[in-house]
Amino acid sequence: MATYADTAHADHGQKQTFFQRWFLSTNHKDIGTLYLIFSLVMFFVGGSMALVIRAELFQPGLQLVDPAFFNQMTTMHALVMIFGAVMPAFVGLANWMVPLMIGAPDMALPRMNNWSFWIMPFAFALLLMPLVLYFFGIGGGGPAGGWTLYPPLSLQGGSNVAFTIFAIHLMGISSIMGAINIIATILNMRAPGMDLLKMPIFVWTWLITAFLLIAVMPVLAGAVTMLLTDKFFGTSFFSAAGGGDPVLYQHVFWFFGHPEVYIMILPAFGIVSEIIPTFARKPLFGYQAMVYATASIAFLSFIVWAHHMFTVGMPLGAELYFMYATMLIAIPTGVKVFNWVTTMWRGSMTFETPMLFALGFVVMFTIGGFSGLMLAMVPADYQYHDTYFVVAHFHYVLVTGSVFGIMAGVYYWLPKWTGHYYNETLGKIHFWGSTIFVNLLFFPQHFLGLAGMPRRIPDYNVAFADFNMFSSIGGFGFGFMQLLFVYIVWQAARSGAKAPDRVWEGARGLEWTVPSPAPHHTFTKPPTISDEDLAHGDVAR
């Protein structure tokens, strides 16, 4: 039986001021909260950019913004959502939950943890500054060459190139430090009895994600530094006129970019793998297979990058190789989906909001997986590439995949964080509203792409008008549903039914052995744990 002790020493006998608590904090829970709030703010910043895009595309013709500003919006939307919303949300969840799940008192490197977070606001101030200054009539606006920053186009920007690149450097430093911290915590701070193959899947997926981050963030930093010197110091890494190669950038970028997409989905796999067993009241099916599948996906993610580049004119052998390697990813991903479905099989399911988001994740992520498999096929990709079909694909995996995974995790652990249940009825309204609108938003984009609408265009032929209008209505609906999410979280933080230690009837794992809300310090003495306390203690043989 896990025991929880030492709540009395929680505040070290001294009261922290607001500044001390939220700016100087080295506490994993407070830093987790900071990450989550930051990510929520960025979710709305990036979301409002998406709404500018969808408003312009509501009808054919150019009514609201000029094409140059439209390109800034698509570029900034992606950068803010990827680096500001999705990645920090997962780091926030890791900060909160990894120590609680492995029975550690805090992260292994608490001061570095503080620093990793506090780099982020500065990085985003830098990233967003050209755009903000533009509204005051200063400068030419933010980067407009797409989030991939392909040269030579990205180098046509003005000083925003330097702002963007330095912001990316800062985000990279933050991510790498966060990743080092998570690896150090997981490998060194597990409570006695918490063997690697008894760890919760969320911890496993984050361990693997952290290695991906350490491996690829420096690659991105290198690629953008070469852009920087090409732009400001007269080098020609990517300039054909100086003997360089624009395609080289794409290879280096996607060597980062493809693992990056798994960085944004593996922790969501972990969250869903925690939630489905809880609400099916049955341990995760094929725990070890899940761990190995995650590791296989991570490995494969390093050797498939050029499937983003099938139309750059690679040799035949390269096209075939990258097609086959990409198809292979379907196997471990399939294993995961089959395991989730089988976990539900012969379970005893209830459908609280976290479970609804998790089930929505499984269905809609799989749809995104299907279109991903279609995109892997070179002959068909000659048509799909750079159309709205691709836009539909990656929003299915990123919004109904990663973002739904994050939402599921927030609803799942919110009572543990705040000590209160959220309003279940509102939670369900939030789920169904989001699901309906998000499909109205992204499903018609498949049709647009197949009919021939390229991505990143501010205006389109009238034949595309109908589905674009559906998509924009879905976009605004989905956006406004997220205000409800904020209200639900705010309400749960302030009031709501008192949550017990074990918030959910079927929940297993050490995080459910500490009080709700979790006290400032937990597991100051390692808990004595037995296999029955662990979600996977009795399945990992």
Partner: protein, 289 residues
């Protein structure tokens, strides 16, 4: 009669979808749901590959989502389901759902490989067209014929996009997919395209031809097409290339071989006249536009 009505409704919907799917190949259609079958073997292969993949995914989807739906309806606590906490591992199942997807992937890979290898075979081409992307127009050259011209967004689309008004299908069905000068190509001729760019990366894409190819400064890409049907085929730049990326359309006019030879001769003659006029009057200022 209660059953008949939904059946009618579904049949009607399917008919409407079929009509929408069987779209004209030359340009996008309203409510178009599916990829064009195009007018080249490459486009046909892309369409076939797409449909193979689509139906395999639909089949897998039915199995997976079906199993999930059954689980959701059958194994719910409100129906008194008791969890079987011992059902957590099965080597048989795990081998099965690793092996079966592998086989399905092999089934997909075979046609895909054949199609890609064939797409790379530019041998036996009868003519070459050079395509150069620039911000924001295309330059075409019939290589060896000394005929070169530019092709950019047509005036009507340009006026409309700057007016801030909402274009309509009845007003201009070719809004943003029309050019001032079309690329004329012969049918039933294996044409090689060599594609590059002057400034930034563009991508030349006409869906009816079945491929897109990036136009990259400093790099020459190669593609080919053998157009089966005369007609007008429209496309757009497919790689973000700056503020007017959405405004550099592509229009190919495919005509029978004899007609093409006639038009090419006319273009050459026009070219010669222009050259002669230019050399005859070197002192006069170059005409604008």
């Amino acid at each position: 009669m209660k059953i008949a009505r939904p059946v009618h409704a579904i049949a009607g919907l399917l008919a409407a979808l079929a009509a929408a799917a069987a779209s004209a190949v030359g340009q996008p259609e309203r409510w178009q749901l599916n990829m064009t079958e195009g007018v080249t073997i490459t486009a046909e292969r892309a369409y076939d590959m797409h449909m193979i993949m689509l139906w395999i995914c639909v089949a897998i989807g039915i199995v997976v989502f079906g199993a999930m739906a059954i689980a959701i309806f059958k194994f719910r606590k409100s129906k008194g389901a008791v969890p079987d906490r011992t059902f957590v591992h099965s080597t048989k199942l795990e081998i099965l759902w690793t092996a079966v997807p592998t086989l399905i992937l092999v089934v997909m890979a075979v046609p895909a490989t054949i199609k890609v290898i064939d797409a790379y075979n530019t041998q036996g081409h009868e003519m070459t067209v050079k395509i150069v992307g620039q911000q924001w127009l295309w330059t075409y050259e019939y290589v060896g014929e000394d005929v070169k011209f530019t092709s950019r967004l047509d005036r009507a689309s340009d006026r409309m996009r700057q007016s801030g008004q909402v274009p309509t299908l009845s007003g201009d069905p070719n809004y943003l997919i029309d050019v001032d000068r079309r690329l004329v190509l012969p049918t039933d001729t294996k044409i090689r395209f060599i594609i590059t760019a002057d400034d930034v990366i563009h991508a030349w894409w006409v869906p009816a031809l079945g491929w897109k190819s990036d136009a990259i400064p400093g790099i020459i890409n190669e593609q080919w097409a053998e157009i089966r049907e005369p007609g007008i085929y429209r496309g757009q730049c497919a790689e973000l290339c700056g503020k007017d990326h959405g405004f550099m359309p592509i229009v190919v006019e495919a005509v029978p071989r004899e007609e093409f030879q006639r038009q090419l001769a006319a273009m050459k003659a026009e070219n010669d006249t222009a050259a002669r006029t230019a050399s005859a009057a070197p002192a006069t200022a170059a005409p604008q536009g």
